[in-house]
Each structure stands twice: as C-alpha cells, then as structure tokens.
C-alpha cells in the first residue's frame, strides 16, 4: 500500500537519454502498465524506482518520502527482473526463502509462506529443484514467487510473463491481479503485450524515447490516443497522410468534414470504424485479402491512390478478394505535427459521402 510519485526523472547513459524528464504519480493500490517499443526506457524507469540505477535528475517519492538516494534494500519495493535473475547456486525453495530468512522469520513460517507462494504460481513440489532444471516459464514464475512472498508495498514487474504460453500467461495475469486487489500492492508492470496491458491495467503509460507520451485509462488510451505515435502503437490503426482543404480532409477516397486550417494532416482510422459497402462500379477500393478470424473478418483493401487499409467486418458478410467496395468512416481522428487536433464527438459523426 503506497503511493509513488516520480518527478522530472531523467537518466543519461553517456549521450543517450534513456529516460527524459518523466513525471508520473501512481495511486495507492493502483496497477499501471508501462508500454512502449524496445529501448524506450521502460526498464530504466523501473530500475530507478527499485534503486538499481541512479537518476541523473529528478526525484522519486514513496508515500511522500524522498527515496531517490535510498539503496534498494531499504526501499519498500520488490522487483521481478526481465532476466529472472534467480540465484543459480540455490534451489527453488532457497530462492524464495532468502528474503524471509533475512527478515529472521521463524522456520515454520518461512516454510509455510514459501510453499504458499510457490503454490500461487503453480509450482508446488518444485522446492528442491535446481533453478537450472526449470523451463524458462517456470523460472519466471519462481522469480514472481520470490518477489510476492515478501509482500512489497510496490511491486515492479519487468515483462514477467514474456516466456509463458498464452494460457499460463492469462492465468498468472489474473493471479497477479487478484493478489494485487487482495493485498493492495501498488504495481508497475512493464509489458510488450498490449492485450495484457489493456486487460489488467488501471492506467497505461505509453513511453517513447524515454518520454511519456500518454497516461490514461485503457479505454481512453484506445479511443482517444493523444498523439500520432500512441495512435499507431496501441491497437491496430490505419494512419493515412493527407491534406485538409476548405474544412474537408480527403484521403483514401473518403471525404471527411474537419474544422481545421488548411494544410497537411494525418488521418487515423481504426479497422473497426470503417464501414464497407459493396459496389459494382469503379468507386472506392479493391479488396486485396480477406482473413476469417471466426469472430470477425480482417479485410485488406487498396484504394485508388494505392493506400492500403485494414478493415474489420462482421463475420459472414461475404467479402472476398477481388471485390470492389466504397469506404466510409464511422469514427476518426486527425493528427497534425504528431498531436491530436481533431476528433468529432460520437454524436457528430455522420457517414461520410463516398467518392
């Protein structure tokens, strides 16, 4: 149970700026996911919170107390490392028990808590195994158990489920979420899996080149990406370069009313926000490829201006490659200079006229 406050945090490695003036406040018992491309500074942020990397500038506060210069062993944080970092000369039990032994707990209690923790991650009975005798996923789960057993106030997870299969990943994700709710741990969770972030996070922080691009609730992040980068990074998005002339943005054979000054702009359309209409004549676009996912069809079309778009359609709508269609947008947003500058309210959206 703790609040975490990060103020203007920066970290330089030589000339590369791994983290650049990052500010972030995380509430008590909140689960925040850090999302971003490889090398965007997620691990570095986590390592600074854990105390393994000294910030070049800025401050870190836990429950209002400045811990910027406090060594890791005296911070109320626990970290699950990207590389597991299990102690290879100890068996699984000793790995999980190490922190408890340091706290001088009675033997019985250590045994009880270690076994409980191993059971939580589905590894009961693995205590005597050497760490080298575990699969990658099992090692990750031991690393998770090792941190969970200490019940830290703030748990930092650096891609903890990277080498797990889908089922185990979902199960453990739920387990972590459950523990988080029950114990009320504040969590920061680094992940490459957007689905994972959208599924468990209270809020998602998207990072790019060491800077925070957007911090919002998952639904808002998906529906109202504030920057072009976030729009392209989170979920599927068709980003089309075009121009606005006399309050009309026309791109990919779609004309959209946009109340903005003339000039270049980027149109962002979610695949599910594009409506397709069958048309015999030469209007619209060619259907290039149709993939049936069961729950929906994923359709790739090419417009007359040779722009490719991904479109999602309900199953059983009978689309196939070679057909012709006209497009209309149910919902869209417009970015200029990388920033969101136009997004009609849902009630404003009118079906756009076909070309």
């Amino acid at each position: 149970m703790a609040t975490l406050e990060i103020k203007n945090l920066s970290r330089l490695f030589g000339n590369t700026c791994a983290v650049d003036d990052l500010s972030l406040t995380i509430g008590d018992g909140e689960l925040v996911c850090l999302l971003g491309p490889s090398g965007s500074g997620k691990s570095t942020v986590l390592r600074m919170i854990g105390g393994f990397e000294e910030p070049t500038a800025g401050a870190i506060l836990i429950d209002g107390q400045d811990v910027t210069r406090v060594p890791p062993e005296r911070r109320p944080t626990g970290m699950v490392f990207q590389s597991h970092a299990l102690w290879t000369h100890m068996n699984v039990f000793a790995n999980v028990a190490f922190g408890l032994k340091l706290r001088r707990l009675p033997k019985d209690e250590i045994r009880r808590r270690v076994n409980g923790s191993l059971a939580t991650v589905g590894l009961e009975g693995y205590g005597e195994r050497k760490t080298s005798q575990l699969s990658g996923g099992q090692q990750q789960r031991v690393a998770l158990a090792r941190s969970l057993v200490l019940e830290p106030k703030i748990l930092l997870l650096d891609e903890p489920f990277a080498s797990l299969d889908q089922h185990l990943r979902e199960r453990l994700r739920e387990e972590v979420r459950e523990i988080q709710r029950r114990v009320g741990i504040t969590m920061i969770f680094v992940t490459h899996g957007q689905d994972e972030a959208l599924a468990i996070a209270d809020r998602i922080a998207v990072m790019r080149d060491g800077r925070l691009e957007q911090l919002s609730r998952p639904d808002r992040l998906y529906r109202q990406p504030q920057t072009e980068f976030v729009a392209g990074f989170v979920g599927q998005m068709n980003l089309l370069q075009g121009a606005i002339r006399s309050n009309v943005m026309s791109v990919a054979g779609i004309d959209l009313p946009v109340a903005l000054a003339d000039g270049p702009a980027t149109l962002a359309l979610r695949p599910e926000d594009i409506a397709l209409e069958k048309r015999g004549d030469d209007g619209g676009a060619d259907v290039m490829r149709v993939t049936d996912f069961g729950t929906h069809l994923s359709i790739e079309v090419r417009t007359r201006c040779r722009q490719r778009l991904k479109i999602m359609a309900p199953p059983g709508t009978g689309w196939s490659a070679g057909m012709r269609a006209t497009l209309s947008a149910r919902k869209f947003s417009v970015y200029r200079d990388g920033k969101l500058c136009f997004m009609p309210q849902p009630c404003d959206v009118r079906p756009a006229a076909a070309a």
Partner: protein, 284 residues
Amino acid sequence: MSMPALRRAGPASLGLSRLRANGAGITIAALLSLFILTPLVNVAIWAFTEIWRYPAVIPQKFGFRFWGDVLSRGDVHLAMTTSLSLAAIVTALSALICLPASYAFARMDFPGRNLFFMSFLTVYAFPKFGLYITIATIFLGLGLIGNFWGVVLIQLVSTLMFMVWIPVSAFQNVDRRQEEAARDAGASPLRVFWSITLPQVLPAISAAVLLTFVNTFYETEVAWLIGAPEVRTVPLLMVRFINSELVVQYGAVLSLLLWVPSFVLLMLVRRFLGAQALGRALGA
C-alpha cells in the same frame, strides 16, 4: 552427442554411436594411462624395492628399508618443513593480495585499470627465466639471495597468474542482476557478497588456491636460483640426491612423499566442491 540429437537419430544408430563413443573413450583412456601411469608405477615400485638386478621383470626383494633411511634424514625433515611452509605462506599471501585485487579488477572502474591489468599479462609474455635472472640481480643487492623471504617474494610473483586471472573471470561471470535481486530482497552489500557472489566464485577460487599451492610446492628453478644454497626445498633435495648419490630409491621415495600433499589437497577440493564444479571453474 546431445540428447535431442540422439533422440532424432533413432534406436538403431543409438546403440552404434554409443559403441563408437565408448571405443574412442577406451582408446583415449588406455593411451593416457600408458603415458601417465607407466612412470608412476615405475616410481612406486622403485620406492618399495630393496634389490632389483637387471634381467628380472619384478624386484627380487621388496621392503621399507629406504623409507626408513629417507625419513630419518635430518635434511629431508628440514626440506619438507621448508617446502610446506613456503607453499603455505606464498599461497596465503597471494590470496590476501590477489583476491581483493581481482574483485576490484572485475567490478570496479578506476583510472589505469586496464593498464594495470595488462601488466599482469606482460609479465607472462617475457621469457620467464630471463625475468627471474633480472630479479635475482636486484635481490642480490637487497641481500635476499639465499633467504627464505626472498624465495617467498619471487614465488609470489609467479602465482599472480592463477590468483588474479582465474578469480577475475569468475567474478566477472557472476550475474549482476542476481546481486541486484538480493539487494532487492533486503540484503546489504556485504550480505550479497557473502550469500550470492562468494558461493558462485568459490569453486574457481579454490582451484586457483590449489594451483598456487601445488605450483609453489613443486617449483624448482626459482627456488634454486634465489634460495640456493641455504633454502632447500624437497624438489631441490631430490635433484641433489639424484645428482650425487645415485640411489634410485631415495628419489623414488621422495617423489611419493612429494605427491602426498597435492593429492590430499586435490581430494579435499573434490570433496567439498565436486569434480564438476572444479571443472567448470577452470573452464570459466
């Protein structure tokens, strides 16, 4: 052959390849024993021989007469004491100096680090004996020739190789993330060293200590160059026996005696660390 490869190969070729591997193994083992064991067996037989005249394949008379002779000699006692204390002191001093140094080399960054580290290497790039001669002339001026501590000093130089290189690579091989994870779990830096770092480098350090001890114990040329004639180690005494008295048995008995300390050490290390860990440490 690795397990998956074997599995792919199927049952038919499995038996064959195992047979082939065994055949090669047996050949190698046989050749090795021929080269290593023949002289050893020869020495061992001589040590217990009282009479062995030319055409006989085995000695005419076995016995412990020469053991009694050798062990009752004052110079043998003295040489044993000298050799053991020399090896022990050199090893201890070397560990005291080199182990912290190797930790510093592996983990810390300080000005001149690489230069300093390379200087260890260059010592070994020189022809060794030339280097020792140079040192000997310096020692002569300092009155360290024929002096026990002079021998200790120069032996110390020749142990740097094992006591710096092996531990440095061992310290470098310890995963920093593992140490961080221990800090994270609440361990102080000292505790991390004790519980995480040390156990992982211990096999390598034991190997380095063992090599240092054994090397110092058996070293002859430097001991002779610096120590002669006052400081007399067992190997030097053996050389003199062979040169002057031509009693084969004296040499043989001393050889067996010399072999005892290193064998005991090797067994101890094996016992505590296991052959596997030792191999891994030396391979690292």
